[in-house]
Amino acid sequence: MKEEKRALTHDPVEVEQQEWKKRRLNERWKQTLTIASPIFLLILWEFLSRTNLIDVRFFPPPTDIIYTFYNMSVSGELFHHIGVSLYRIFAGFLLGVIPGIVIGLLMGLYSPIRHFVSPIVMALMPIPTLALLPIIIILFGIGDFSKIFTIAGSVFFPVVINTTAGVINIDSIYLDVAKNYGANSKDFFFKIALPGSLPVMMEGIQMGQAIALLTIVAAEMMGATSGIGYLIWTSYKAFLLKEMFVGLILISFFGYLFSLILRYLQKKILPWR
Protein backbone atom coordinates (compact mmCIF):
# COMPACT_ATOMS: atom_id res chain seq x y z
CA MET A 1 0.00 0.00 0.00
CA LYS A 2 2.56 2.52 1.19
CA GLU A 3 4.89 1.72 -1.67
CA GLU A 4 2.16 2.37 -4.18
CA LYS A 5 1.34 5.75 -2.75
CA ARG A 6 4.95 6.83 -2.72
CA ALA A 7 5.16 5.96 -6.38
CA LEU A 8 2.11 8.03 -7.21
CA THR A 9 3.02 11.24 -5.42
CA HIS A 10 6.58 12.37 -5.10
CA ASP A 11 5.93 15.81 -3.75
CA PRO A 12 6.53 15.68 0.03
CA VAL A 13 4.19 18.59 0.67
CA GLU A 14 1.45 16.83 -1.21
CA VAL A 15 2.00 13.66 0.80
CA GLU A 16 1.81 15.55 4.06
CA GLN A 17 -1.24 17.45 2.86
CA GLN A 18 -2.98 14.15 2.19
CA GLU A 19 -2.07 13.01 5.68
CA TRP A 20 -3.34 16.23 7.17
CA LYS A 21 -6.64 15.93 5.29
CA LYS A 22 -7.02 12.41 6.57
CA ARG A 23 -6.41 13.54 10.14
CA ARG A 24 -8.91 16.36 9.78
CA LEU A 25 -11.50 13.98 8.39
CA ASN A 26 -10.88 11.72 11.34
CA GLU A 27 -11.41 14.65 13.77
CA ARG A 28 -14.67 15.58 12.03
CA TRP A 29 -15.86 12.00 12.27
CA LYS A 30 -15.24 12.00 16.01
CA GLN A 31 -17.12 15.28 16.39
CA THR A 32 -20.03 13.84 14.46
CA LEU A 33 -20.08 10.83 16.77
CA THR A 34 -20.26 13.11 19.81
CA ILE A 35 -23.18 15.04 18.42
CA ALA A 36 -24.89 11.91 17.10
CA SER A 37 -24.81 10.00 20.36
CA PRO A 38 -27.66 11.81 22.20
CA ILE A 39 -29.69 12.01 18.99
CA PHE A 40 -29.23 8.31 18.47
CA LEU A 41 -30.39 7.62 22.01
CA LEU A 42 -33.51 9.76 21.52
CA ILE A 43 -34.37 8.09 18.21
CA LEU A 44 -33.89 4.66 19.73
CA TRP A 45 -36.08 5.62 22.66
CA GLU A 46 -38.75 7.02 20.31
CA PHE A 47 -38.71 3.87 18.24
CA LEU A 48 -38.84 1.45 21.17
CA SER A 49 -41.58 3.42 22.80
CA ARG A 50 -43.73 3.80 19.64
CA THR A 51 -43.44 0.12 18.85
CA ASN A 52 -44.32 -0.77 22.45
CA LEU A 53 -41.07 -2.62 22.95
CA ILE A 54 -40.67 -0.64 26.16
CA ASP A 55 -43.57 0.34 28.38
CA VAL A 56 -45.02 3.64 27.16
CA ARG A 57 -46.40 4.35 30.62
CA PHE A 58 -42.91 4.52 32.08
CA PHE A 59 -41.05 5.71 29.01
CA PRO A 60 -43.25 8.02 26.98
CA PRO A 61 -41.72 8.77 23.55
CA PRO A 62 -39.47 11.88 23.45
CA THR A 63 -41.76 13.65 20.97
CA ASP A 64 -44.60 13.40 23.50
CA ILE A 65 -42.30 14.78 26.20
CA ILE A 66 -41.37 17.68 23.92
CA TYR A 67 -45.06 18.31 23.28
CA THR A 68 -45.74 18.31 27.03
CA PHE A 69 -42.77 20.64 27.50
CA TYR A 70 -44.29 22.98 24.92
CA ASN A 71 -47.70 22.96 26.61
CA MET A 72 -46.21 23.61 30.02
CA SER A 73 -44.16 26.48 28.63
CA VAL A 74 -47.16 28.05 26.96
CA SER A 75 -49.18 27.92 30.16
CA GLY A 76 -46.27 29.61 31.96
CA GLU A 77 -46.36 27.02 34.70
CA LEU A 78 -42.93 25.70 33.76
CA PHE A 79 -41.18 29.04 33.98
CA HIS A 80 -42.49 29.56 37.46
CA HIS A 81 -40.89 26.28 38.58
CA ILE A 82 -37.65 27.02 36.75
CA GLY A 83 -37.44 30.52 38.20
CA VAL A 84 -37.99 29.32 41.75
CA SER A 85 -35.44 26.53 41.43
CA LEU A 86 -32.79 28.70 39.78
CA TYR A 87 -33.16 31.27 42.53
CA ARG A 88 -32.67 28.59 45.18
CA ILE A 89 -29.72 27.06 43.32
CA PHE A 90 -27.93 30.39 42.91
CA ALA A 91 -28.60 31.57 46.42
CA GLY A 92 -27.65 28.21 47.92
CA PHE A 93 -24.57 27.98 45.70
CA LEU A 94 -23.34 31.42 46.75
CA LEU A 95 -24.18 30.81 50.39
CA GLY A 96 -22.06 27.66 50.26
CA VAL A 97 -19.22 28.86 48.02
CA ILE A 98 -18.44 32.19 49.70
CA PRO A 99 -17.97 30.86 53.25
CA GLY A 100 -16.25 27.82 51.73
CA ILE A 101 -13.65 30.04 50.05
CA VAL A 102 -13.17 32.29 53.09
CA ILE A 103 -12.83 29.45 55.59
CA GLY A 104 -10.75 27.42 53.14
CA LEU A 105 -8.30 30.30 52.64
CA LEU A 106 -8.03 30.85 56.39
CA MET A 107 -7.41 27.14 56.92
CA GLY A 108 -4.80 27.08 54.19
CA LEU A 109 -2.97 30.19 55.38
CA TYR A 110 -3.00 29.67 59.14
CA SER A 111 -2.09 26.21 60.31
CA PRO A 112 -3.55 26.64 63.86
CA ILE A 113 -6.94 27.41 62.27
CA ARG A 114 -6.49 24.42 59.96
CA HIS A 115 -5.70 22.08 62.81
CA PHE A 116 -8.62 23.35 64.83
CA VAL A 117 -11.26 23.46 62.08
CA SER A 118 -10.35 20.49 59.91
CA PRO A 119 -11.56 17.76 62.33
CA ILE A 120 -14.92 19.53 62.49
CA VAL A 121 -15.12 19.73 58.70
CA MET A 122 -14.07 16.10 58.32
CA ALA A 123 -16.65 14.93 60.87
CA LEU A 124 -19.51 16.92 59.35
CA MET A 125 -18.72 16.19 55.71
CA PRO A 126 -19.94 12.56 55.56
CA ILE A 127 -23.38 13.51 56.92
CA PRO A 128 -25.67 14.03 53.93
CA THR A 129 -27.30 17.43 54.25
CA LEU A 130 -30.48 15.85 52.92
CA ALA A 131 -30.65 13.63 56.00
CA LEU A 132 -30.74 16.81 58.03
CA LEU A 133 -33.60 18.21 55.97
CA PRO A 134 -36.26 17.48 58.62
CA ILE A 135 -34.24 19.41 61.20
CA ILE A 136 -33.56 22.19 58.71
CA ILE A 137 -37.29 22.48 58.01
CA ILE A 138 -38.04 22.60 61.74
CA LEU A 139 -35.43 25.33 62.17
CA PHE A 140 -36.08 27.43 59.07
CA GLY A 141 -39.64 26.53 58.06
CA ILE A 142 -40.80 25.31 54.67
CA GLY A 143 -39.95 28.53 52.82
CA ASP A 144 -37.16 29.13 50.34
CA PHE A 145 -34.50 29.49 52.98
CA SER A 146 -34.61 25.88 54.12
CA LYS A 147 -33.88 24.74 50.53
CA ILE A 148 -31.20 27.37 50.08
CA PHE A 149 -29.60 26.30 53.32
CA THR A 150 -29.67 22.62 52.32
CA ILE A 151 -27.92 23.39 49.04
CA ALA A 152 -25.40 25.66 50.75
CA GLY A 153 -24.62 22.89 53.23
CA SER A 154 -23.84 20.45 50.43
CA VAL A 155 -21.85 22.91 48.32
CA PHE A 156 -19.75 24.16 51.22
CA PHE A 157 -17.69 21.00 51.80
CA PRO A 158 -16.03 20.38 48.44
CA VAL A 159 -15.26 24.10 48.19
CA VAL A 160 -13.70 24.40 51.64
CA ILE A 161 -11.63 21.25 51.21
CA ASN A 162 -10.37 22.17 47.75
CA THR A 163 -9.59 25.75 48.72
CA THR A 164 -7.52 24.58 51.69
CA ALA A 165 -5.72 22.04 49.52
CA GLY A 166 -5.17 24.72 46.87
CA VAL A 167 -3.36 26.99 49.32
CA ILE A 168 -1.35 24.22 50.97
CA ASN A 169 -0.18 22.80 47.66
CA ILE A 170 1.26 26.04 46.26
CA ASP A 171 4.82 25.17 45.28
CA SER A 172 7.09 26.24 48.13
CA ILE A 173 9.46 27.98 45.72
CA TYR A 174 6.84 30.72 45.20
CA LEU A 175 6.65 31.19 48.95
CA ASP A 176 10.44 31.55 48.97
CA VAL A 177 10.29 34.09 46.16
CA ALA A 178 7.66 36.12 48.03
CA LYS A 179 9.71 36.03 51.23
CA ASN A 180 12.99 36.81 49.51
CA TYR A 181 11.50 39.82 47.74
CA GLY A 182 9.96 41.06 50.97
CA ALA A 183 6.22 40.59 50.35
CA ASN A 184 4.10 41.77 53.28
CA SER A 185 1.13 39.66 54.33
CA LYS A 186 -1.39 41.58 52.22
CA ASP A 187 0.74 41.32 49.09
CA PHE A 188 1.45 37.70 49.86
CA PHE A 189 -2.27 37.00 50.01
CA PHE A 190 -3.22 38.80 46.80
CA LYS A 191 -0.15 37.98 44.70
CA ILE A 192 0.68 34.46 45.83
CA ALA A 193 -1.87 32.67 48.02
CA LEU A 194 -5.08 33.63 46.25
CA PRO A 195 -3.99 33.25 42.61
CA GLY A 196 -1.92 30.17 43.45
CA SER A 197 -4.85 28.38 45.06
CA LEU A 198 -7.39 29.35 42.37
CA PRO A 199 -6.99 26.33 40.05
CA VAL A 200 -7.73 23.78 42.76
CA MET A 201 -10.36 26.06 44.29
CA MET A 202 -12.14 26.22 40.90
CA GLU A 203 -12.25 22.42 40.79
CA GLY A 204 -14.04 22.51 44.13
CA ILE A 205 -16.51 25.08 42.83
CA GLN A 206 -17.21 22.87 39.79
CA MET A 207 -17.95 19.99 42.13
CA GLY A 208 -20.11 22.25 44.28
CA GLN A 209 -22.15 23.26 41.25
CA ALA A 210 -22.87 19.62 40.37
CA ILE A 211 -23.85 18.89 43.96
CA ALA A 212 -26.14 21.94 44.07
CA LEU A 213 -28.22 20.49 41.22
CA LEU A 214 -28.33 17.04 42.77
CA THR A 215 -29.48 18.56 46.03
CA ILE A 216 -32.17 20.90 44.69
CA VAL A 217 -34.33 18.06 43.40
CA ALA A 218 -34.28 16.22 46.70
CA ALA A 219 -34.64 19.39 48.76
CA GLU A 220 -37.78 20.36 46.86
CA MET A 221 -39.37 16.99 47.39
CA MET A 222 -40.03 17.78 51.01
CA GLY A 223 -42.01 20.77 52.20
CA ALA A 224 -42.04 22.59 48.89
CA THR A 225 -44.87 23.96 46.76
CA SER A 226 -42.91 24.81 43.64
CA GLY A 227 -39.63 24.23 41.82
CA ILE A 228 -38.29 21.64 39.41
CA GLY A 229 -37.85 19.08 42.19
CA TYR A 230 -41.43 19.67 43.31
CA LEU A 231 -42.59 19.26 39.69
CA ILE A 232 -40.75 15.95 39.33
CA TRP A 233 -42.01 14.63 42.64
CA THR A 234 -45.68 15.62 42.28
CA SER A 235 -45.79 14.46 38.66
CA TYR A 236 -44.39 11.13 39.75
CA LYS A 237 -46.91 10.79 42.57
CA ALA A 238 -49.77 11.64 40.18
CA PHE A 239 -48.28 9.26 37.62
CA LEU A 240 -47.82 12.10 35.11
CA LEU A 241 -44.60 10.67 33.78
CA LYS A 242 -44.31 13.01 30.82
CA GLU A 243 -44.27 15.97 33.16
CA MET A 244 -41.77 14.15 35.34
CA PHE A 245 -39.47 13.64 32.36
CA VAL A 246 -39.74 17.32 31.51
CA GLY A 247 -38.41 18.06 35.00
CA LEU A 248 -35.59 15.54 34.69
CA ILE A 249 -34.52 16.90 31.32
CA LEU A 250 -34.50 20.44 32.72
CA ILE A 251 -32.16 19.36 35.50
CA SER A 252 -29.87 17.67 33.02
CA PHE A 253 -29.93 20.74 30.76
CA PHE A 254 -29.06 23.16 33.56
CA GLY A 255 -26.34 20.89 34.86
CA TYR A 256 -24.70 20.87 31.46
CA LEU A 257 -25.18 24.61 30.97
CA PHE A 258 -23.68 25.52 34.35
CA SER A 259 -20.64 23.35 33.88
CA LEU A 260 -20.06 24.98 30.47
CA ILE A 261 -20.34 28.43 32.02
CA LEU A 262 -17.97 27.53 34.85
CA ARG A 263 -15.46 26.05 32.45
CA TYR A 264 -15.60 29.25 30.40
CA LEU A 265 -15.07 31.33 33.53
CA GLN A 266 -12.19 29.10 34.54
CA LYS A 267 -10.43 29.86 31.27
CA LYS A 268 -11.04 33.59 31.72
CA ILE A 269 -9.88 33.65 35.35
CA LEU A 270 -6.86 31.41 34.82
CA PRO A 271 -5.28 32.58 31.55
CA TRP A 272 -1.89 31.49 32.83
CA ARG A 273 -2.74 27.80 33.01
Binding site: D176, Y181, L198
Partner: protein
Amino acid sequence: MENTKISINNLTKVFFKKNNSVTALEDISMEIFEGEFVCLVGPSGCGKTTLLRILAGLETTSVGDFEIKLGKEDRPLQSMVFQERGIIPWLTVEENVAFGLKMRHLPKSVIKERTDYYIKKVGLEKFSKLFPKELSGGMKQRVSIARAFANDPEILLMDEPFAALDEQNKFILQEELLSIWEETKKTVLFITHSIDEALLLSDRILLMSAQPGKIIKEIKNDIPRPRNIEKIRSHQQTTKNFIEILNHLHEEVQKSRK
Protein backbone atom coordinates in the same frame (compact mmCIF):
# COMPACT_ATOMS: atom_id res chain seq x y z
CA MET B 1 37.15 47.07 45.87
CA GLU B 2 38.57 45.89 49.16
CA ASN B 3 35.53 46.88 51.23
CA THR B 4 33.96 43.86 52.87
CA LYS B 5 30.39 43.47 51.68
CA ILE B 6 29.41 40.14 53.16
CA SER B 7 31.07 38.67 56.19
CA ILE B 8 30.20 35.25 57.52
CA ASN B 9 31.48 34.34 60.96
CA ASN B 10 31.77 30.77 62.23
CA LEU B 11 28.45 29.81 60.73
CA THR B 12 27.18 26.30 61.43
CA LYS B 13 23.89 24.81 60.33
CA VAL B 14 22.54 21.54 61.65
CA PHE B 15 19.34 19.89 60.48
CA PHE B 16 17.67 17.92 63.21
CA LYS B 17 15.04 15.30 62.65
CA LYS B 18 13.89 12.67 65.12
CA ASN B 19 17.13 12.08 67.07
CA ASN B 20 19.08 12.30 63.86
CA SER B 21 21.16 15.30 63.08
CA VAL B 22 22.97 16.24 59.92
CA THR B 23 25.59 18.95 59.89
CA ALA B 24 25.03 20.74 56.62
CA LEU B 25 27.52 23.55 57.18
CA GLU B 26 30.37 23.54 59.65
CA ASP B 27 32.15 26.59 60.95
CA ILE B 28 32.04 28.64 57.79
CA SER B 29 33.85 31.94 57.83
CA MET B 30 34.45 34.09 54.82
CA GLU B 31 34.42 37.56 53.43
CA ILE B 32 33.17 38.76 50.12
CA PHE B 33 34.21 42.19 48.93
CA GLU B 34 32.22 44.96 47.35
CA GLY B 35 31.71 44.37 43.63
CA GLU B 36 33.19 40.90 43.72
CA PHE B 37 31.78 37.96 41.79
CA VAL B 38 32.31 34.86 43.89
CA CYS B 39 31.43 31.33 42.84
CA LEU B 40 30.80 28.62 45.36
CA VAL B 41 31.63 25.21 43.90
CA GLY B 42 31.18 21.89 45.58
CA PRO B 43 29.83 18.38 45.16
CA SER B 44 26.06 18.05 45.31
CA GLY B 45 24.70 17.84 48.82
CA CYS B 46 27.56 19.85 50.28
CA GLY B 47 25.26 22.50 51.69
CA LYS B 48 26.00 25.26 49.21
CA THR B 49 22.31 25.91 48.61
CA THR B 50 21.75 25.93 52.37
CA LEU B 51 24.38 28.62 52.78
CA LEU B 52 22.75 30.71 50.09
CA ARG B 53 19.30 30.23 51.60
CA ILE B 54 20.63 31.43 54.95
CA LEU B 55 22.01 34.59 53.34
CA ALA B 56 18.69 35.00 51.52
CA GLY B 57 16.79 34.93 54.80
CA LEU B 58 14.98 31.73 53.92
CA GLU B 59 16.74 29.61 56.51
CA THR B 60 18.16 30.40 59.95
CA THR B 61 21.63 29.68 61.25
CA SER B 62 22.17 27.21 64.10
CA VAL B 63 25.29 28.95 65.43
CA GLY B 64 27.27 31.89 64.11
CA ASP B 65 26.12 34.87 62.13
CA PHE B 66 26.60 36.86 58.96
CA GLU B 67 26.42 40.47 57.97
CA ILE B 68 25.61 42.19 54.72
CA LYS B 69 26.80 45.80 54.68
CA LEU B 70 24.16 48.30 53.75
CA GLY B 71 25.24 50.91 51.23
CA LYS B 72 22.21 52.99 50.31
CA GLU B 73 19.33 53.31 52.76
CA ASP B 74 16.47 52.51 50.41
CA ARG B 75 18.02 49.41 48.92
CA PRO B 76 17.00 45.86 49.72
CA LEU B 77 19.79 43.77 51.22
CA GLN B 78 19.69 40.89 48.80
CA SER B 79 17.76 39.36 45.94
CA MET B 80 17.94 35.80 44.82
CA VAL B 81 17.91 34.26 41.37
CA PHE B 82 16.32 30.89 41.96
CA GLN B 83 16.81 27.62 40.13
CA GLU B 84 14.35 26.95 37.35
CA ARG B 85 10.64 27.22 38.33
CA GLY B 86 11.48 30.37 40.28
CA ILE B 87 9.24 32.67 38.29
CA ILE B 88 5.60 32.90 39.22
CA PRO B 89 3.32 31.29 36.63
CA TRP B 90 0.27 33.50 37.25
CA LEU B 91 2.20 36.73 36.65
CA THR B 92 3.20 37.93 33.21
CA VAL B 93 6.84 38.47 32.29
CA GLU B 94 6.44 42.16 33.07
CA GLU B 95 4.78 41.52 36.44
CA ASN B 96 7.42 38.96 37.34
CA VAL B 97 10.25 41.38 36.63
CA ALA B 98 8.45 44.11 38.57
CA PHE B 99 7.71 41.77 41.49
CA GLY B 100 10.43 42.92 43.89
CA LEU B 101 9.81 46.61 43.12
CA LYS B 102 6.07 46.17 43.64
CA MET B 103 6.64 44.42 46.95
CA ARG B 104 8.62 47.47 48.02
CA HIS B 105 5.75 49.74 46.93
CA LEU B 106 7.92 52.07 44.90
CA PRO B 107 6.24 54.76 42.79
CA LYS B 108 4.60 53.36 39.66
CA SER B 109 6.78 55.39 37.31
CA VAL B 110 9.97 54.05 38.89
CA ILE B 111 8.69 50.49 38.69
CA LYS B 112 7.76 50.92 35.05
CA GLU B 113 11.06 52.49 34.10
CA ARG B 114 13.26 49.91 35.79
CA THR B 115 11.13 46.98 34.65
CA ASP B 116 11.22 48.16 31.04
CA TYR B 117 14.95 48.72 31.23
CA TYR B 118 15.76 45.21 32.40
CA ILE B 119 13.20 43.50 30.19
CA LYS B 120 14.92 45.19 27.28
CA LYS B 121 18.32 44.29 28.69
CA VAL B 122 17.47 40.57 28.61
CA GLY B 123 15.75 40.90 25.24
CA LEU B 124 12.20 40.06 26.25
CA GLU B 125 10.36 43.23 25.11
CA LYS B 126 8.23 41.25 22.72
CA PHE B 127 7.26 38.80 25.41
CA SER B 128 6.50 41.16 28.27
CA LYS B 129 2.75 40.48 28.26
CA LEU B 130 3.07 36.70 28.07
CA PHE B 131 2.70 34.21 30.87
CA PRO B 132 5.66 31.98 31.75
CA LYS B 133 3.98 28.87 30.30
CA GLU B 134 4.65 30.32 26.86
CA LEU B 135 8.37 30.83 27.51
CA SER B 136 11.31 28.50 27.01
CA GLY B 137 13.58 27.55 29.89
CA GLY B 138 16.20 30.11 28.86
CA MET B 139 13.64 32.89 28.64
CA LYS B 140 12.31 32.01 32.08
CA GLN B 141 15.78 32.36 33.58
CA ARG B 142 16.17 35.70 31.81
CA VAL B 143 13.03 36.84 33.60
CA SER B 144 14.47 35.62 36.88
CA ILE B 145 17.72 37.52 36.31
CA ALA B 146 15.91 40.68 35.23
CA ARG B 147 13.75 40.49 38.36
CA ALA B 148 16.79 40.33 40.63
CA PHE B 149 18.71 43.13 38.89
CA ALA B 150 15.63 45.37 38.64
CA ASN B 151 15.26 45.13 42.41
CA ASP B 152 18.72 46.74 42.70
CA PRO B 153 19.80 44.94 45.89
CA GLU B 154 23.06 45.29 47.81
CA ILE B 155 24.05 41.76 46.82
CA LEU B 156 22.80 39.15 44.38
CA LEU B 157 22.49 35.51 45.31
CA MET B 158 22.27 32.99 42.49
CA ASP B 159 21.40 29.37 43.04
CA GLU B 160 22.52 27.38 39.99
CA PRO B 161 20.38 29.53 37.72
CA PHE B 162 21.57 27.85 34.52
CA ALA B 163 21.69 24.24 35.71
CA ALA B 164 18.57 23.17 33.84
CA LEU B 165 19.44 24.80 30.51
CA ASP B 166 20.95 23.14 27.48
CA GLU B 167 24.55 24.00 26.69
CA GLN B 168 23.93 26.51 23.88
CA ASN B 169 21.47 28.48 25.96
CA LYS B 170 23.75 28.28 28.95
CA PHE B 171 26.60 29.93 27.05
CA ILE B 172 24.36 32.71 25.81
CA LEU B 173 22.89 33.41 29.22
CA GLN B 174 26.25 33.32 30.96
CA GLU B 175 27.60 35.98 28.62
CA GLU B 176 24.45 38.05 29.00
CA LEU B 177 24.73 37.82 32.76
CA LEU B 178 28.35 38.98 32.53
CA SER B 179 27.43 41.98 30.42
CA ILE B 180 24.61 43.07 32.75
CA TRP B 181 26.83 42.50 35.74
CA GLU B 182 29.71 44.50 34.33
CA GLU B 183 27.36 47.44 33.98
CA THR B 184 26.19 47.34 37.61
CA LYS B 185 29.19 45.75 39.36
CA LYS B 186 27.00 44.16 42.00
CA THR B 187 28.43 41.87 44.62
CA VAL B 188 27.42 38.38 43.56
CA LEU B 189 27.52 35.02 45.29
CA PHE B 190 26.87 32.40 42.67
CA ILE B 191 26.42 28.70 43.30
CA THR B 192 27.28 26.17 40.65
CA HIS B 193 28.57 22.68 40.19
CA SER B 194 29.96 23.57 36.77
CA ILE B 195 33.68 24.31 36.82
CA ASP B 196 33.53 26.02 33.43
CA GLU B 197 30.80 28.29 34.63
CA ALA B 198 32.75 29.27 37.73
CA LEU B 199 35.89 29.98 35.69
CA LEU B 200 33.98 32.13 33.23
CA LEU B 201 32.05 34.22 35.72
CA SER B 202 34.00 34.61 38.92
CA ASP B 203 36.76 36.69 40.43
CA ARG B 204 37.25 34.11 43.11
CA ILE B 205 36.16 30.50 43.47
CA LEU B 206 35.46 28.92 46.84
CA LEU B 207 35.57 25.16 46.99
CA MET B 208 33.41 23.30 49.45
CA SER B 209 33.84 19.87 50.93
CA ALA B 210 31.13 17.25 51.02
CA GLN B 211 29.10 16.86 54.17
CA PRO B 212 29.67 18.56 56.52
CA GLY B 213 30.10 21.52 54.20
CA LYS B 214 33.25 23.52 54.83
CA ILE B 215 35.15 25.92 52.68
CA ILE B 216 38.45 24.20 52.07
CA LYS B 217 40.06 26.11 49.26
CA GLU B 218 40.04 29.43 47.56
CA ILE B 219 41.15 30.02 44.00
CA LYS B 220 41.79 33.45 42.56
CA ASN B 221 40.55 33.78 39.02
CA ASP B 222 42.03 37.03 37.76
CA ILE B 223 41.70 36.58 34.02
CA PRO B 224 40.99 40.15 32.88
CA ARG B 225 37.50 41.30 32.02
CA PRO B 226 35.52 41.77 29.85
CA ARG B 227 35.43 38.05 29.30
CA ASN B 228 33.74 35.68 26.95
CA ILE B 229 33.77 31.93 26.62
CA GLU B 230 36.43 31.78 23.91
CA LYS B 231 38.76 34.03 25.83
CA ILE B 232 38.41 32.00 29.00
CA ARG B 233 38.77 28.67 27.24
CA SER B 234 41.96 29.70 25.45
CA HIS B 235 43.60 31.25 28.49
CA GLN B 236 46.37 29.07 29.88
CA GLN B 237 45.54 29.79 33.49
CA THR B 238 42.09 28.29 32.96
CA THR B 239 43.48 24.84 32.31
CA LYS B 240 45.55 24.94 35.46
CA ASN B 241 42.59 26.10 37.56
CA PHE B 242 40.26 23.64 35.92
CA ILE B 243 42.45 20.69 36.79
CA GLU B 244 42.96 21.90 40.31
CA ILE B 245 39.22 22.21 40.93
CA LEU B 246 38.50 18.94 39.18
CA ASN B 247 40.99 17.03 41.33
CA HIS B 248 39.57 18.56 44.42
CA LEU B 249 36.00 17.66 43.48
CA HIS B 250 37.01 14.08 42.65
CA GLU B 251 38.63 13.77 46.02
CA GLU B 252 35.49 14.98 47.74
CA VAL B 253 33.23 12.68 45.79
CA GLN B 254 35.49 9.74 46.63
CA LYS B 255 35.46 10.70 50.29
CA SER B 256 31.70 10.87 50.44
CA ARG B 257 31.43 7.42 48.88
CA LYS B 258 33.40 5.81 51.67
